[in-house]
């Protein structure tokens, strides 16, 4: 199936001479949740702004569901809802008015029932007549999401959607994003919270220094780059790792009670069995053991560091 968003050779150099994007090629599949990760200044927001028509590209093309964003901008933009990173809302308008305004702006006839459903979904219904300026930061964020959803977009861009939103609300937002995806909306989100990407994304893209470093299915990425570690809780503290075991990648905690073994989960011989036998041979007993996968965050940090 044709990707819903196709980016080819996208470059952006700002008037200041700063090159924010250095040739981006990217395909986003229909109906997926795509998480765009990257350090500050990597070009995430610039890329989103170009796709949404706020910033002009210096070179390259973008098509949205087959519509070129420059030559067929009206069709392309109609499909997109954008929730920008900054909390920018009309201060003195009511929630209802500002959300209804957005729907009109995107060329849709009024639909009060739909607006009501969106506001209820985002727990904003009680605040529909409040002025936006009177709302808390988290509520303003949700107003911006409501504005983006008001015109029933097929693609939703969320630039740092849960920044400044407390944990409980963040969960609620994740659930909402999940529901949107089930209804067939393609979602592209940028985030600093790796756990957000880990929790929701189907595909992860990493951008750094204006280049896409990697695009991978999340599960594959975690498997490929995922280091696992085995942590052994020792029965009695160990002064040092026995010399005979020095060939194993082992680390000992300072109090000598925890032994950590790193291994590659993809490898056929993880070496766990022999390690445990050798430990037994040395009379090292343990009370507990657990294995962990490295988080997306660790993968991400190591990737960016590697390429920097």
């Amino acid at each position: 199936m044709q990707p819903i968003i196709q980016v080819r050779g996208l470059e952006k150099t700002y008037a200041s001479g700063f090159q924010a994007l250095k040739g981006i090629d990217l395909d986003i599949r229909r109906g997926e949740i795509f998480a765009l990760l990257g350090p500050n200044g990597a070009g995430k927001t610039t890329m989103i702004s170009i796709v949404c028509g706020i910033v002009r590209a210096s070179a390259g093309t973008v098509t949205v569901d087959g519509h070129d964003i420059v030559t067929d901008w009206r069709a392309a933009r109609s499909l997109i809802g954008l929730v920008p990173q900054e909390l920018t809302t009309e201060a003195f308008e009511s929630v209802w008015a500002t959300v209804s305004f957005s729907r009109g702006l995107f060329g849709k006839p009024p639909n009060p029932a739909l607006i009501e459903r969106i506001l209820r979904d985002l727990s904003l219904w009680e605040k529909k007549d409040s002025k936006v300026i009177a709302l808390s930061g988290g509520m303003k964020r949700r107003v911006m999401i409501a504005k983006a959803l008001s015109h029933e977009p097929r693609i939703l861009f969320l630039d740092e959607p849960t920044a400044g939103v407390d944990v409980e609300l963040r969960r609620g937002m994740w659930e909402m994003i999940g529901r949107l995806r089930e209804s067939g909306v393609t979602i592209i989100l940028t985030t600093h919270y790796i756990e957000e990407a880990e929790e929701m994304a189907d595909t992860v893209g990493v951008i750094s220094g204006g280049r896409i470093i990697l695009v991978e299915k999340k599960a594959a990425l975690m498997e490929q780059l995922g280091q696992r570690q085995l942590t052994l809780q020792l029965q009695s503290p160990l002064p040092a790792i026995p010399a005979e075991l020095s060939s194993y990648p082992l680390t000992l905690s300072e109090d000598g009670r925890k032994l950590v073994y790193r291994f590659d989960s993809q490898h056929e011989h993880t070496g766990i069995a022999t390690l445990l036998r050798r430990l037994g041979d040395h009379g090292i007993d343990f009370t507990n053991l657990r294995t962990e996968e490295s988080s997306l965050e660790e993968i991400f940090v190591s990737l960016v560091r590697e390429r920097a």
Binding site: G53, A75, L82, F92, F101, L105, G107
Partner: protein, 257 residues
């Protein structure tokens, strides 16, 4: 299916901007009406009675078209500039830029709302003036035409100003240093035939002179400059403003980087 013209968007912007007027009703309508009334009381009723008639019209009545014009053009500029500057300042402009709406439609929405407000304001001032002085309108059609043309042209100018300004100070400085002096010296309070010959020539460089003169002609049939020239100059000014707006959107000047 995407429509060729986004009527819903024009309507949304237009109504949104007018809603802002109702919200700040006192400031945006009552303020100018009251201050104009004060002019009538001071210049028309109090001092004006000592003045001789200007070109066969009592001074109070002579003032009416000029004062309406002055309010309409200063309010058009400040209203339209604020209307577009505010979203730029607060950042909400992102939504308009990302919406499937053309430059033309955006301008119709914003400028249309500002001009509508000016027309309402001009009409209210005329009605208020009727309480203080007696005046007649010789050419109602042209009166309305000049009122609409001026409102639209200066709302466009305000729109340009609101895009050019990158601070509140710049936003204030053009109305204060250019629009208000031009309006005061544009023949609102006097006939330019009352000026010495040299200043009569200088004053012809002031575009407001043509507006006020044409507008006054529509009331009393007398004018400082031929009415056709007034109309032509107003239209020229409109075309210049439209050209600048077209250029702004074509280049993305101060809107897109």
């Amino acid at each position: 299916m995407t429509a060729a013209i986004n009527l819903h968007a024009i309507k949304a912007i237009y109504l949104f901007e007018l809603a802002r007027t109702w919200r700040t009703l006192f400031q945006s309508i009552a303020g100018p009406v009251i201050s104009t009334s004060l002019y009538f009381i001071v210049f028309g009723a109090a001092i004006g009675s000592r003045f001789t008639a200007v070109e066969g019209v009592s001074y109070g009545a002579f003032l009416v078209p000029g004062l309406v014009m002055m309010s309409v053009l200063t309010e058009s500029v400040s209203n339209a500039s604020f209307g577009i500057y505010m979203p730029r300042y607060s950042g909400t402009i992102y939504e308009v830029l990302s919406a499937p709406i053309s430059a033309f439609e955006t301008v119709i929405g914003y400028v249309g709302a500002a001009a509508t407000k000016s027309i309402i304001l001009g009409t209210l001032i005329l009605l208020t003036a009727r309480l203080f002085v007696d005046f007649s309108i010789a050419h109602p059609f042209w009166m309305v035409a000049f009122l609409v043309l001026t409102s639209v042209t200066f709302s466009l100018l305000g729109f340009i100003l609101g895009i050019w300004a990158d601070g509140w100070e710049k936003l204030q400085i053009v109305p204060l240093l250019i629009v208000t002096p031009l309006a005061f010296l544009g023949g609102s309070f006097y006939s330019i035939s009352m000026l010495p010959p040299f200043w009569q020539k200088v004053t012809l460089f002031n575009p407001v002179v043509y507006l006020v003169s044409g507008f006054r002609w529509s009331f009393y049939g007398t004018a400082d400059v031929p009415v056709a020239l007034s109309l032509a100059m107003t239209a020229l000014f409109l075309v210049i403003c439209l050209g600048v707006v077209w250029w702004i959107f074509r280049t993305g000047y101060k809107l897109k980087n």
